[in-house]
C-alpha cells in the first residue's frame, strides 16, 4: 500500500523485458507487471465502507432534494443515488490509489452487485404484495379443499355483513392447473428435447435443421391468445374430422386437453431453445469417449450427453413450465371456465389458477365489495408461486442427482 505511487510510475528497469535490449519499454508491460506485490488491492473493509458512505450520502441528497415542508423519503431515488455514488466512489478511489485495471474490475464488480440488488427489489416487492394479502386469503377455511360452486355475490355480501368469513376455494383451479400443465409438459418436453437432440446431435446444419431452428424461433413470437385460438380451432376441426370418420369423440372441443395443446404451442419453443443451448456446450470429448467404448449414439446421448447437461435442461424445462403455467388468455378460450372440480381433461370445462386469479381480480364476485375476491386472487397467486417453486425444487433435485460432480479440474 505504501508503494502505490511507485506502482503507477514504474522505473524503466522494471518494465524491461528479457529481450529488453532491442525493445523500448512500452506501456502495456508496465501495467501488466507492477513491481510491488502489495498495494494493488483494496482492503476487505473497503467495499462495505464505500457502500455505507454512499448510502449515507445519497440519503442526505434525497432529504435535501425532497420536499422542504414534508419529511418523506423516496426509496427508489435513494437506491438510485446510492448505487451511482457507490459505483463512482469505488471507481475513483481505486483509480487514484491503484490503477485503471483495478478500478475497472471494481466498477464492474459493483455494477454486478447493483444489478443483483436491483433484481431482488421487484422480487421482494411482488412477493410481499402477494404474500401479505395472499396469506390472509389462505387462512380462510376450506380455501384449498373446496371449489367455487355456489359462491356468488350473495356469498360475499354475507361476508361483508359479517355472517361468515370468506368462502370458496381453489381446489378446482389447482387440479385444473396441474392436469393441464402436466399434459402440456408431457407433450412438449419430449418433443422439445428430442428436437434439440436432433438439432445438436444428428443434423449437421442441413436444410431440415435450419428450417426447424427458423420455425422454432418464429414460435417464440406467437402471442398466447393466438395460441389459444389455434388450439380451439385445431381441436374443433380434429373433432369434426374424427366424428366424420365415425370415431366416438366428445361433442365439444372446450376441455382440458385443448388447453394443453394451446400451451404446448407456447412451451415447445422454450424447451427447444433452452435445451439446445445446454446440449451444445457438452464437450465433444465426452461423446467420443463414449463412442470409443462401442456405445451406440442414442445411448451416448441418453446416458452421457443428457446427464452432463441435465441441470441446464432441468432449468430450461422449469422455465418453460413456469412460462405456461401462468397463462390466462389461451385457457379461457380452450378450457372454458369451471367453478367446480373436474379431473377429466377429455370432457367438460376446467379452470386454472391464473384464469381464476384474473377473473377474481378483474371481475370481483361482488359488484362493490371486492375484498373477498382480492383475497382469493392473491392467495391463489401465492399457491401458484408455491407450486412453481415446488416444481423448480423437484427439477433441481433431479438435476443434482445426475449432474456432473463438480470437483477437480
Amino acid at each position: 500500500m505504501i508503494e502505490s505511487t511507485q506502482t503507477k510510475n514504474p522505473t524503466p528497469a522494471s518494465v524491461q523485458g528479457p529481450a529488453g535490449g532491442h525493445e523500448p519499454p512500452h506501456e502495456p508491460a508496465a501495467m501488466l507487471r507492477p513491481n510491488s506485490l502489495t498495494g494493488n488491492i483494496q482492503p476487505r473493509w473497503f467495499l462495505p465502507a464505500c457502500a455505507a458512505v454512499s448510502l449515507l450520502l445519497s440519503f442526505a441528497l434525497v432529504v435535501l432534494l425532497g420536499d422542504a415542508e414534508e419529511f418523506s423519503i423516496n426509496w427508489a431515488l435513494w437506491f438510485v443515488f446510492a448505487a451511482v455514488i457507490h459505483l463512482v466512489l469505488a471507481y475513483v478511489i481505486t483509480l487514484v490509489r491503484i490503477n485503471r485495471r483495478k478500478a475497472k474490475d471494481m466498477f464492474w464488480r459493483n455494477l454486478i452487485y447493483v444489478a443483483f440488488t436491483l433484481a431482488l427489489l421487484p422480487l421482494v416487492s411482488v412477493i410481499m404484495s402477494v404474500a401479505i394479502v395472499g396469506f390472509q386469503g389462505l387462512t380462510n377455511a376450506g380455501f384449498l379443499t373446496s371449489d367455487m360452486q355456489g359462491i356468488n355475490a350473495s356469498t360475499d355480501a354475507g361476508t361483508q355483513e359479517g355472517e361468515h368469513g370468506v368462502l370458496g376455494g381453489i381446489r378446482h383451479a389447482i387440479i385444473g392447473s396441474l392436469v393441464i400443465t402436466l399434459m402440456a409438459t408431457l407433450v412438449s418436453v419430449p418433443i422439445g428435447l428430442l428436437t434439440s437432440i436432433y438439432l445438436v446431435e444428428y443434423s449437421q446444419g442441413g436444410p431440415l435443421s435450419r428450417a426447424i431452428t427458423f420455425f422454432v424461433d418464429v414460435m417464440t413470437g406467437i402471442p398466447s391468445i393466438v395460441a389459444g385460438l389455434f388450439g380451439a380451432a385445431a381441436m374443433a376441426s380434429f373433432l369434426s374430422f374424427a366424428d366424420s370418420l365415425g370415431i366416438p369423440v366428445p361433442g365439444r372441443s372446450t376441455m382440458g386437453v385443448t388447453a394443453a395443446i394451446a400451451l404446448s404451442v407456447l412451451m415447445i419453443p422454450v424447451v427447444v431453445r433452452t435445451t439446445e443451448e445446454m446440449l451444445r456446450v457438452v464437450p465433444n470429448e465426452l461423446r467420443e469417449a463414449s463412442y470409443a467404448l462401442g456405445v451406440r449414439k442414442w445411448r451416448t446421448i441418453l446416458k452421457v450427453v443428457i446427464p452432463t447437461a441435465i441441470s441446464g435442461i432441468a432449468a430450461g424445462v422449469t422455465l418453460s413450465i413456469a412460462r405456461v403455467i401462468g397463462e390466462t388468455a389461451p385457457i379461457l378460450l380452450t378450457a372454458g371456465f369451471a367453478t367446480r372440480v373436474n379431473w377429466n381433461p377429455f370432457e367438460g370445462w376446467m379452470t386454472t389458477l391464473p384464469v381464476f386469479i384474473y377473473q377474481q381480480f378483474t371481475r370481483p364476485m361482488h359488484p362493490t365489495y371486492h375484498d373477498p375476491s382480492f383475497q382469493r386472487a392473491w392467495a391463489a397467486a401465492l399457491i401458484l408461486i408455491l407450486i412453481v417453486m415446488g416444481l423448480n425444487l423437484i427439477a433441481r433435485i433431479i438435476a443434482t442427482i445426475f449432474a456432473p460432480k463438480k470437483t477437480g479440474r
Binding site: Q204, G205, P283, N284, E285, L286, R287, E288, A289, S290, Y291, A292, L293, G294, V295, R296, K297, R299, T300, K303, V304, P307, T308, I310, F402, A403, P404, K405, K406, T407, G408, R409
Partner: protein
C-alpha cells in the same frame, strides 16, 4: 480375440483438407505397433480412422480400404459401433465422464450399453481393470467419488481401465502416458506387454524410449510442411527404425537431429 489391421491407400480428410495421404500398413494381430512423428503430422488423425472415430467430426471422411482381419471396416453395411466395440481407444487427453463415479467410469462400457450384471461381477471387473491400469491402490477407498476429482495421471489411468474393461480386440492408445509419471508409465507399459498376448495394440507416442521398449513394429509419420498432408514415411521393425532406418527423414528424426 485380437485382429490384424491392414490399411490400403488410405486418405483422410477434414472437409477438403487432406490431412493424411496414402497410408499402406499391415499390423499383425497380437502385436504392439508404435506410431511416431512430429506434432501435427497426422498420427492422431490416422489412429482415429482405425476405429471410425474420425467420422464423428462433421465433414471428416476417409478414402481407401481398412481391413480388420479380412473385413473392410469402411465397407458398406458395416456398423461403426460394432467396429468400435472391437477396437477400443484411449485418448490423448484423459476424459473421464464427469457425471460418473470412478467405479461407474470403469463400468461405463457395460453400463452405457445397458448391460445388467451382479454386484459381485461388477466389483470383479472394476478391480481387475483398475489393477491392470495400476490405479487400484490409489482409488480403492473412493470408488464412489467422481472420476474428475483425480489428478491428470490418475484420470488417464482411469480411462485406460475403462477401455480395457470391455475387452476389445484391438486397443488404440493416443499418447496414453503423456500425462503419467514414470512409475505409472512403467505399469502401463507392463500392461501393454501383457495385453499384447491377447490383443492387437497400436500406440501413438512421442517418447522414443517408450516406442523402443513396448513396440515390435514402428511407423514413422512425417509432414512436408504446413497445409501439406501427413504421410507414413517408413514402417518396419522397431529395432530397424531406431537403429538402421532406410529413410533419411526417419534417421534424422529418431536421432533427434530433425528440424
Amino acid at each position: 480375440m485380437s485382429k490384424s489391421i491392414t490399411a490400403k491407400n488410405l486418405n483422410v480428410y477434414y472437409g477438403d483438407f487432406l490431412a493424411v495421404e496414402g497410408v499402406n500398413i499391415e499390423i499383425a494381430a497380437k502385436s504392439v505397433t508404435a506410431f511416431i512423428g512430429p506434432s501435427g503430422c497426422g498420427k492422431t488423425t490416422f489412429l482415429r480412422t482405425l476405429n471410425r472415430m474420425h467420422e464423428v467430426l462433421p465433414g471428416a471422411r476417409v478414402e481407401g480400404e481398412l481391413l480388420l482381419d479380412d473385413d473392410n471396416i469402411y465397407g458398406s453395411g458395416v456398423d461403426p459401433v460394432t467396429v468400435r466395440t472391437m477396437v477400443g481407444m484411449v485418448f490423448q487427453r484423459p476424459n473421464p465422464f464427469p457425471t460418473m463415479s470412478i467405479r461407474e467410469n470403469v463400468l461405463a462400457g457395460y453400463k452405457l450399453n445397458g448391460a445388467r450384471m451382479s454386484r459381485s461381477k461388477a466389483d470383479e471387473i472394476v478391480e481387475t481393470a483398475l489393477r491392470g491400469a495400476n490405479l487400484w491402490n490409489e482409488v480403492k477407498d473412493r470408488l464412489d467419488k467422481p472420476g474428475s476429482g483425480l489428478s491428470g495421471g490418475q484420470q488417464q489411468r482411469l480411462c485406460i481401465a475403462r477401455t480395457v474393461a470391455v475387452k476389445p480386440d484391438v486397443i488404440l492408445m493416443d499418447e496414453p502416458c503423456s500425462a503419467l509419471d514414470p512409475i505409472s508409465t512403467l505399469a502401463i507399459e507392463d500392461l501393454i506387454s501383457e495385453l499384447k498376448k491377447e490383443y492387437t495394440i497400436v500406440i501413438v507416442t512421442h517418447n522414443m524410449q517408450q516406442a523402443a521398449r513396448v513396440s515390435e513394429k514402428t511407423a514413422f509419420f512425417n509432414i512436408a510442411g504446413t497445409g501439406k498432408p501427413g504421410k507414413m514415411i517408413e514402417y518396419a521393425d522397431t529395432t530397424t527404425i531406431f537403429n538402421n532406418p532406410s529413410n533419411e527423414q526417419t534417421e534424422r528424426y529418431v536421432s533427434g537431429k530433425f528440424g
